[in-house]
Amino acid sequence: MKEYDYNDSIEKIKSALFDIYEQQEYIVGLIEDPKERENKINQFVSLKDHALKLLDEINSLYGDTEVETKEDEENTQEEQAKGDNNSGEPIIYNSVSAEEDDEAADTEQSQPNIDPTDEDDEDDEDDDFDVDSTDQNTDNSETAEENINNTEDNSTDDNSESGLTKYYLDDLKGNTPNFAYIPEKILNKIKQSNKIKTFYRQDDNKIRGIIVRSDQFMKLSLSKKRQEGVLKEAKDYKFKLLREARNQQEQDPEM
């Protein structure tokens, strides 16, 4: 039985990905046509979101622990599906078919309760799961709570070890529940996405305006994205790696 460090591989992929982001930043800055630049930025953001989503999905499957090879992993997943989840790793089911409902129902009865009002302390920068039927998820939170049976042990395990709070989606057919899990911070992000920022003027003084060229306008727009996270994440991640490398070097000067 071989063991493979997925976490290390994921970190390397992330590092390579952010190197690409920095290169893209440079390329975007060279584009003169504002529309083309805008398109490039949109593609850039879309690529980044997709890549991070994939990375997070991989990470959620394998967690922070070293995992077994494929055949052992399949056996482990079968055992976990039967409710024997002692590893503490989060399990994310995208859907449960009608045929598996009996089995899933037994599993679900041992799943933790959900309280949508609980707040998660984790940073929510990187999460961009595509969640199907997000409206359903928001609207059916009350129904979802009614469908949940609590088990103290599992509730403690899941909420403390994985840090995830799970929500249910109702079955589209309206009969047997069809379960899907998303982290609470994703749900909050979806809720907040509908809110528009509002600013309140405190005086009636004349508003100061200035005329800028279209290329200058694009640079200003780019700076906002840089501040809010698209490229900021890349820089932050780079700084984090540099700090870790520096710390390691200080601890082992012989290296």
Binding site: I196, R201, D203, K206, V212, S214, F217, K224
Partner: protein, 84 residues
């Protein structure tokens, strides 16, 4: 792609504008928002508006820049980004 925000004046009139970016002074004491009402000149130039941002708890407030020295500094901040 630009973020739309709402500005409410003292008569509670709401206006939807597009948020372009934020400006921060080097000492991080002052923050400004730059927004546009989509007013474009015939030659493609764009008019942007700049207001000082004050955040109190969960409320975002805007104060107009009346001090000339401050306005000059804000323009320098804007130039720094726009001509980078």
């Amino acid at each position: 792609m630009e973020e739309k925000v709402i500005i409410v004046d003292q008569n509670n009139n709401e206006q939807e504008v597009e948020l372009v970016t934020y400006l921060n002074t080097r000492d991080n004491n002052n923050q400004y928002i730059v927004y546009t009402k989509n007013e474009k000149q015939p030659n493609g130039d764009v008019i942007v508006y700049i207001s000082k941002l004050i955040e109190e708890e969960d409320t975002k407030k805007l104060v107009e820049i009346s001090d000339e020295e401050e306005w000059k500094n804000v323009q320098l901040l804007l130039k720094e980004i726009a001509n980078a």
